[in-house]
């Protein structure tokens, strides 16, 4: 299949609505109100139906206004139920949006002979139609939806840039926001209004479930990748735009290799945000699952290395045979030996491992820490000598030079530990 300007417009439309949604989504995620986007975008159905019945046309403006009004009513009702009705916030959203959605379904069904309104257009949107409905602006022909979404995105951008400070404070600490003297409640309703506007402007393009995806997933992924609000907003916008592109490519080009003729681009865009989110969960630089696992692995390897070194040192002290280099070691042991050989901390001496001078230095430092801790625990923490080994074994890996000095000072620089073994000098 050839890439045409039509495909480009689909990606542009998807990216515009995704970015408009993602921008506000940052603050929904931080305020723990992600599901508000879901509630509002389902609940606008009766607003559309009533606007259609009143004006008797599918003109966009009345439909838009009707839907936005119902969206704002949804936010107010949810707030009312959870504040005055003391209903759990999740439950109040569930009650409000399912009821309004049901009302919308009934209205559309009852007026079926007058209304040519398809519920599907709310649930799935129609990217192809939106990309084909062109208007002329100056010398250019652009899709009408692109103009609308561009305006919405600009409004959202202005809102976020102008009220960045207020949004930041009220997202992280509403009480502080109130003491700082601006109205966090008013800000909340402006945000909700914009969420409603954005959801309504987006859903006949990408469908309301994708609105939810774009409001939550890019912001959530960005939240896992960065720790600063400013960069989180930027990253979420990038993720939103990339998902739109990947989604359309994935929906139109990839299926052809599998023998299908293509599928819903909007659905694939939602799926793409999901994949990016999973990637962020798994491979995020600091909070990602793999990076945390990697750090844990590194730590356990270091401890195993240090244990091997101090074990060899102890054997040298006792003058017994060295660790035999034959036999099949466990994977960890094999890795540990390989790394220590590379670092020239140990060497192979006729079938056995022995410490090199460099390894001996490291090992004596470790053992010094270990025995200092044992002495300290007996002297200062009044433990019995035979209770101290395990604790010292753990602490020795975490003791740096400064702490070691401090320990030695605290217990008056002894030469032998409680078991009578020599504490290696520095």
């Amino acid at each position: 299949m050839l890439w045409t300007s039509f495909d480009t417009w689909i990606v542009v439309l998807g990216a515009l609505s995704a970015m408009a949604c993602a921008l506000l989504g940052n603050f929904l995620v931080l305020r723990r109100m992600s599901m508000m986007g879901d509630a509002i975008s389902h609940a606008v159905l009766p607003g559309l139906a009533v606007a259609f019945l009143v004006t008797d046309s599918r003109a966009s403006l009345p439909m838009f206004v009707g839907a936005v009004i119902v969206g704002i009513i949804t936010a107010l009702l949810v707030q009312f139920l959870s504040r005055f009705g003391k209903v759990d916030e999740g439950a109040s959203m569930g009650v409000v949006f399912t009821t309004l959605f049901a009302l919308g379904l009934i209205l559309i069904r009852r007026a079926a002979d007058q209304v040519d309104l398809d519920v599907n257009c709310v649930l799935y949107g129609d990217l192809n139609y939106a990309a084909a409905a062109m208007v002329r602006i100056g010398p250019f022909r652009v899709p009408e939806a692109a103009v609308i979404l561009g305006i919405v995105l600009t409004i959202n951008l202005l809102f976020v840039v102008l009220f960045f400070k207020e949004l930041r404070i009220s997202s992280f600490d509403p009480e502080l926001a109130t003491t700082q003297g601006f109205n966090a409640g008013a800000l909340h309703y402006v945000l909700m209004t914009l969420v409603a506007v954005t959801a309504v402007a987006s859903f006949d393009v990408i469908g309301n479930i994708l609105v939810v995806a774009m409001m939550v997933a890019p912001a959530a992924a960005a939240h896992l990748l960065t720790d600063r609000l400013g960069s989180m907003v930027v990253v979420s916008l990038i993720i939103a735009a990339i998902s739109a592109a990947i989604g359309h490519v994935g929906a139109t080009i990839v299926p052809q290799y599998l023998g299908f003729s293509g599928t819903s681009s909007a659905g694939a865009m939602a799926a793409a945000t999901g994949l990016i989110f999973i990637a962020a969960v798994l491979f995020g630089p600091r909070r990602g699952v793999t990076s945390r696992m990697w750090h844990r692995l590194q730590l356990s390897l270091r401890i195993a290395q240090e244990d091997l070194l101090s074990g060899l040192y102890r054997q040298e002290e006792r003058g017994v045979a060295k660790v035999p280099a034959s036999g099949a070691p466990s994977l960890t042991q094999w890795l540990v030996r390989r790394r220590l050989l590379q670092q020239e901390a140990i060497e192979r001496v006729d079938g056995h491992f022995a410490l090199t001078p460099r390894g001996r230095k490291v090992a004596s430092r470790l053992l010094r820490s270990h025995r200092l801790w044992e002495t300290y625990l007996v002297d200062q923490a009044a433990l019995r000598a035979d209770q101290t080994h395990k604790t010292a074994e753990q602490l020795e890996h975490l003791t740096d030079a400064a702490l070691q000095q401090r320990l030695a000072l605290d217990i008056a620089t002894p030469t032998h530990d409680p078991q009578g073994k020599m504490i290696p000098p520095e």
Binding site: G85, D88, G90, T98, I106, L107, A220, A266
Partner: protein, 455 residues
């Protein structure tokens, strides 16, 4: 107006005959549908009750949306193996698998990232649904067989429910209600305090998993009946309505089941009576009606009940403040007394003592007069009765005891205790007063301690 016209226009078409036929379930189809959705409402009410208490109300939302890819994938698999693709058990199995995966993802995201439940739910529901739409796109373009029946999972097709569908719902409902009854104690303790449950040695993970399995079961069988979005309502609305009426779990669950079943019955009946009324949506609207009634008139947490309690408390606080002020005036001012020693207090003196408005004070006095705590005399003078004097003395005493307690035991400066004492004195019980007395060693009973600050 258009709304009401649309919603109620065909009421006139209902004949008595039709009404009776629907009410007594004469038609086979109506019988199947009504019984099916009633049982579904019942099971949704019970299971939803637990979900509400565990603050997982919206989990059903994520769950029901994440069944879509399973349904589409099951269709594709069955169709590509030469089947019709529309075999119900197969589709429901697919729905169960991806539904469970969705719930699992919510749990994993909450456990392994710093995101909260709301974001986890939003991501899972939208991304799974997105995948579902993608697969549906393939299904609709497949050559093998028509996929026309699959759409019904999104909006439901209550009116076309088959006896076998109703039986499946009944089976799942029976299992859920049976499990809830058998594990009542375990699930109860889990709903209120999971940490305590764990320390008591109950298998929290297993119980939680069981609860999730019940929600998945109800959602999956409900999909066909009322559709993907409205099944969420069956899990939330009856439970949230029942919560307004009682603080006891058992009663709440029963009530929630009753509301769910009644909504199902009324919704299905209305939809059978009137043309072009989608049953699923009507059921939700009936349940929403029950919710609104409960919201206002619920016995325990309803708005009206709470408002009445609030007004009563305010009234009591007002009276107690009035009496205490009277006592303070008797104590500090030279007042006239009648022959029996009842003090007389001019209205203006009371008005100056506190920041009451004249109107509010007049209302307080009227109420106190009605309770026979004082008599209103001509020339704007009031006279405390015997009960009034006893009450006034008691109020002042409790206030000052509390003040003394705050000074001696909570290290609060004498000039600051008045407000704190003011707020707490109205809720001090007799036992608390006795304890305070003990603490402060003010054993001689009728004595009112001197005030620790200037009145």
């Amino acid at each position: 107006m258009i709304l009401s016209h649309l919603l109620f226009s065909s009421l006139g078409q209902i004949t008595t005959d039709l009404l009776l036929r629907v009410l007594f379930l004469d038609d086979y189809n109506t019988r199947v549908v009504v019984l099916g959705v009633m049982v579904l409402g019942l099971a949704g009410g019970v299971v939803g009750g637990y979900m509400l208490l565990r603050k997982h109300a919206l989990l059903g939302d994520a769950l029901s949306h994440s069944t879509l890819p399973g349904i589409a994938a099951a269709f594709m698999v069955m169709a590509s193996f030469g089947g019709s693709g529309k075999s119900l058990p197969g589709l429901l199995l697919g729905a169960t698998i991806t539904g469970s995966a969705g719930v699992g993802c919510v749990m994993l995201i909450r456990r392994y990232t710093r995101l909260k439940e709301d974001a986890a739910l939003g991501i899972v529901l939208s991304v799974f649904f997105g995948f579902g739409i993608v697969l549906m796109g393939f299904v609709q373009r497949m050559k093998a067989g028509s996929a026309a029946g699959i759409e019904t999972f999104i909006y439901g097709k209550t009116a076309a429910m088959l006896a076998s569908d109703a039986q499946l719902i009944a089976l799942v409902a029976l299992i859920c209600v049976g499990l809830c009854a058998l594990l009542y104690k375990e699930l109860k303790i889990l709903s209120f305090d999971p940490a305590y449950t764990a320390t008591q040695g109950w298998p929290v993970l297993l119980l939680d998993g069981l609860m999730m399995a019940m929600v998945i079961g109800v959602t999956v069988v409900g999909l066909q009946a009322v559709g993907l979005i409205l099944v969420i309502a069956m899990l939330i609305i009856p439970a949230a309505s029942a919560r307004f009426w009682t603080h006891r779990l058992g009663r709440m669950l029963v009530l929630s089941a009753v509301i769910g079943a009644l909504s199902g019955w009324m919704g299905a009946s209305i939809s059978a009576l009137l043309p072009r009324m989608p049953a699923g949506a009507i059921i939700v609207m009936v349940a929403a009606g029950a919710f609104v009634i409960s919201l206002f008139f619920g016995q325990q947490r309803g708005v009206v009940a709470r408002w009445v309690r609030y007004v009563q408390l305010q009234r009591q606080v007002g009276l107690q403040n009035l009496l205490r002020t009277c006592f303070e005036l008797v104590e500090t001012r030279q007042l006239q007394h009648d022959e029996d020693g009842h003090p007389r207090i001019p209205f203006n003196m009371l008005l100056e003592a506190k920041s009451w408005s004249p109107r509010y004070l007049r209302r307080l006095l009227k109420r106190a007069d009605h309770d026979e705590l004082l008599n209103t005399l001509p020339q704007a003078v009031i006279e405390l009765t015997d009960t009034g004097m006893v009450e006034a003395r008691r109020q002042a005493r409790e206030h000052r005891l509390w003040e003394l307690y705050l000074i001696t035991h909570a290290d609060i400066a004498a000039s600051h205790v008045d407000r704190g004492a003011d707020m707490i004195e109205h809720v001090l019980g007799t036992e608390m007063v006795l304890q305070l007395e003990k603490l402060l060693e003010q054993q001689s009973h009728p004595v009112v301690p001197a005030t620790p600050h200037r009145i």
